[in-house]
């Protein structure tokens, strides 16, 4: 790998830490390593820096700094929001509504909740992966504790109508949570305008470090802790503050606010070039997700008659990093629940690949990726019994 150029097309999985972010973090490992809760002098720099970071982080979604609660990442924030809505002294009910295309942090948690007596409604989506506010409203019951629909999907990039869904939740006086891990810092979110009560994020998706995220909790919403411990985070999230993480996250949010529009424009141009070239130059290929209501950097494409892991491996050998919704890459027998939820057949889902560009991606990277893909797809099809059968059928039809 080392002797070859690596083209990283997997920014939805994680991103490179931005230079300014790393620079901002380093002093808090070396010099200012004190515990921000210490009363002595060493506590001070970290405490001040986290305060600044929290303000930048809140600012990006129109929240107040005291509504931001740091967590270990997106998964913890998701678990906290939903478990605290159904368990403990501040539980709101025994019924949860989620979309069927949520991240595993939500889906696997809900499957667990069902084992301990919580009822879960998994909302269907349309062929683009969009949840309709009407289906949300129809699913609400008197004992519904929380509605959780992601801001944007991590696999197919579809952006959900969260403002309308939030309005429905508000109308029925039900908590609304949104997993914004993929959307935060990429598209415009405003917690007030979008009727959001709870929102999850993770720093490593926007050029920040791994292992830190936050849960936004709207002022007035009472949540019990998920992690019991010290008095950190206003007494509801125990654990010594991850100062370098919070500082890095703050810097990433600050930068994201400044260049969001510019980045999005650049990524959309790259993404659309990739999508358009693939759809016109590779036969029997299709786009998964919505053509325009999608995250700037996300292109999820499927290729008939071939399987995703062998595609991924072949791309990897050419130095291109992508990801797949095929079961074979995950070790289970079922392909991605997201691809099945948008109505794909198993074999279609198996042949899907996700490309996620960043603002660092170049046009040359995109073109090399498409060129490589063309030869890889052709090679794998020449080995595919499904393609062989298809071609024979075509011939038969022509002769008939």
């Amino acid at each position: 790998m080392a002797d070859k150029k690596t083209i990283y097309m997997d920014n939805a999985s994680t991103t490179r830490v931005r230079e300014e972010v790393l620079d901002a973090m380093l002093p808090f490992f070396r010099e200012d390593y004190g515990n921000p809760d210490s009363i002595h002098a060493m506590g001070r720099p970290g405490r001040d820096a986290v305060k600044v970071a929290r303000a930048h982080i809140a600012d990006l979604i129109g929240a107040k700094p005291e509504e931001i609660y740091f967590t270990s990442g997106g998964s913890e924030a998701d678990n906290w929001a939903i478990k605290s809505a159904v368990f403990g002294p501040h539980a709101k009910g025994k019924h949860v509504i989620v979309s069927s295309i949520e991240h595993h942090a939500i889906i696997n948690m809900c499957e667990y909740l069902e084992k301990v007596g919580i009822e879960v409604t998994y909302l269907p989506v349309d062929k683009y992966g969009i949840v309709s506010p009407e289906t949300v409203e129809a699913a609400i019951r008197p004992d519904t504790a929380i509605i959780s629909v992601m801001t944007a999907n991590n696999e197919i990039g579809t952006i959900e109508p969260i403002r309308e869904i939030g309005a429905v939740a508000r109308k029925h006086n039900v908590l609304f949570h949104t997993d914004a891990v993929q959307a935060y810092g990429q598209i415009d979110i405003d917690v007030t305008r979008d009727n959001i009560d709870l929102l999850s994020t993770s720093a490593h998706k926007l050029g920040g470090p791994k292992g830190i995220g936050f849960l936004y909790i709207r002022n007035g919403v009472k949540l019990d802790p998920l992690i019991h411990g010290g008095e950190q985070e206003r007494g509801i999230r125990g654990g010594t503050t991850n100062v370098p993480g919070a500082v890095g996250f703050g810097k990433a949010a600050e930068l994201a606010k400044v260049d969001m529009k510019e980045r999005a424009d650049k990524e959309i141009a790259l993404r659309d070039r990739l999508i358009n070239r693939v759809l016109t130059e590779i036969p029997y290929s299709s786009l998964n997700g919505h053509p325009t209501q999608r995250l700037p950097g996300n292109a999820n494409l499927r290729f008939a008659f071939i399987e995703g892991e062998s595609l991924l491996m072949s791309m990897n050998m050419a130095g291109i990093c992508v990801s797949t919704g095929s079961a074979c890459a995950s070790g289970s027998l079922d392909p991605s629940h997201v691809l099945l939820a948008i109505g794909l057949k198993h074999e279609e889902a198996h042949g899907s690949l996700r490309f996620t560009v960043s603002a660092e991606t170049t046009i040359e990277d995109v073109d090399y990726t498409v060129d490589t893909l063309k030869s890889v797809v052709e090679r794998l099809r020449s080995m595919s019994p499904l393609y062989e059968d298809f071609i024979k059928e075509q011939k038969k039809k022509q002769e008939a």
Partner: protein
Amino acid sequence: MYDGVYSDKVIDHFTNPRNVGEIENPDGVGTVGNAKCGDIMRIYLDIDPETKVIRDCKFKTFGCGAAVASSSMATEMVKGKTIYEALEVTNKAVMEALDGLPQVKIHCSLLAEEAIHAALWDYAEKNNIKIEGLRKPKKDVHDEE
């Protein structure tokens, strides 16, 4: 995802698969697996009617890297063997020849064994002979789970 997880042999057989293709009017052909699970293997056999030696063997596979490598290795292993000896090419033998497979990919080598058996079964049926130890293949593309 499997960078560094597959053996060099698996990578080699995935990158340069042996015996990919079709045989026109094959003496035996077998297809196993199904698209739903993400693996389909088809094996073609060309068999000497006198000596019962497998003169040629080709495959086509829809599936992951391990599935492609297992089919490639299996075709190499049965070539030159008689139809009776070909039964020795078990999933274990294929796996060993590939220097092992990750736990979650062991079914790929099983599929390769089944594909060979299916092709041999097809040959045996067409020629009305019995191959000792060969059972009717259980998996088929048309099996819906």
